[in-house]
Subunit: 232 residues, 2 copies
DNA sequence: ATTCGTGATACTGTATGCAGTATGTAAGCG
DNA sequence: CGCTTACATACTGCATACAGTATCACGAAT
């Protein structure tokens, strides 16, 4: 059985195009990306062992690139390596979740201030566009698309801060929590509240009011914790 | 030629003891740890390509565990993977350095506040003990030992915050800058200033004054940037 | 002389094979 | 009937072999 994307071969995975330039993507990186998706979607649940031979067969790759992909995820903290027992998907306790959100909050507050100070008008407009697109998916009740744009907006704001380290760190921590936030988004009726918080974020950003944006982001993440903690 | 530690075999690397319990450490992890050291010490300089066969020979391991170790470091952001050209040690620009210190500052400020609120008296005493030991190495002018304890103190304060995510993030970012701070420590005559800043940090911690500790840490990192930026 | 092309070389990416260890199962013993 | 132990199985850890690609050197042509 093939897992993940349906399109099987080179056109999608091994070779892609980027501005006319052919970029060759090693299998390991493709596998790593696929694994990240499988983990956030819950196809590989938290705590599950990763069986190299069966997963390799499902993905259609040999053990070597799969192992190397797993090592990357281990470096990012998405999986844990247990000696002689392979890798298991990292399981977040409620405290882990809380701790991560505390850090994320601190980082987004920092990012918000920096973004208001440094972002270009075009950059702000792009985030606003993402927001409008997200609203569209919200009214259409398209959960997956909404979720992805939601994450993208947070990443985009962080990107506006023009701080690569901040962006990278934020991305990794966000990735660890993606699964819980993904399922958390599922049945939640607090959806409307989250959207309203996003509205305020965008307004603050457009006003280039760093403190206000930081406050909005902080509040949003506090509320995120209450929205999500029930799932643990 | 053997690189790194002198003691060659099992006693040191493959098998160690931990509270009477034998812990088996995979080669890859040992190699990863060794690589981190080689990078911070500058034995493998920033920007250098990692030749798998020669480095593997030097470390006395085959390419497989070496490659997997490199993948872990890639996940941590210490090396970059270039398709078909292997891995190169990540090179930090002055901006990267600045960005990282901004993030580190924000995180240590957060950690300082949390530590003052949550740390046990014993934990505080342990950090104080580290500080006293560091002072000892300072008066003895033992640079390497001083450097290691310096880093350890920062990590220990972060550890007192009892936030695993914060600790992990801090560790990774600190690891990326270790080399520059290592050489930066070399000839610096601003050494005394750094020590004084540490004194204030410890006093604030012992007083459990979160704002004061955050301020001390922030100032220390600001000064660190001025101490280090000349090296870029 | 310089530039472009061509071939050799060396290194990375991937697959596979082998050895060692953990785990589950079944049989023997209390 | 429960517990221990021994064995079989399956999976990980590591090494090696092979294929594909980038790089460098050398030579030819302009």
């Amino acid at each position: 059985m093939e897992l993940g994307s349906s399109r099987s071969d080179l056109a999608e995975r091994g070779i892609a195009e980027n501005g006319g330039r052919i970029v060759r993507r090693p299998l390991q990186e493709e596998v790593a990306a696929r694994l990240r998706d499988l983990i956030t979607q819950g196809t590989i649940p938290a705590g599950a062992r990763i069986n190299e031979v069966v997963l390799g067969a499902q993905l259609g790759v040999s053990r070597t690139p799969l192992r190397e992909a797993v090592r990357m995820l281990a470096g990012e903290g998405l999986v844990e390596l247990v000696p002689a027992r392979g890798a298991v998907v990292r399981k977040l306790s409620a405290k882990d979740m809380f701790d991560s959100l505390v850090v994320l909050k601190s980082m987004e507050e920092l990012a918000g201030r920096l973004a208001c100070a440094k972002a270009s008008a075009q950059g702000i407009e792009e985030v606003s566009a993402l927001h409008r697109a997200m609203l569209e998916h919200y009214v259409q009740r398209e959960r997956l698309a909404y979720f992805k744009l939601n994450q993208a907006i947070h990443s985009a704001i962080v990107a506006l801060s023009d701080n690569a380290t901040l962006a990278w760190t934020h991305e990794v921590i966000q990735a660890r929590m993606k699964h819980i936030r993904f399922i958390g988004n599922a049945g939640s009726e607090k959806w409307a509240g989250a959207v309203e918080e996003h509205e305020e974020m965008i307004r603050a950003l457009q006003a280039r009011d760093g403190n206000r944006l930081a406050a909005a982001l902080g509040l949003h993440l506090d509320r995120t914790f209450t929205r999500v903690k029930a799932l643990l």
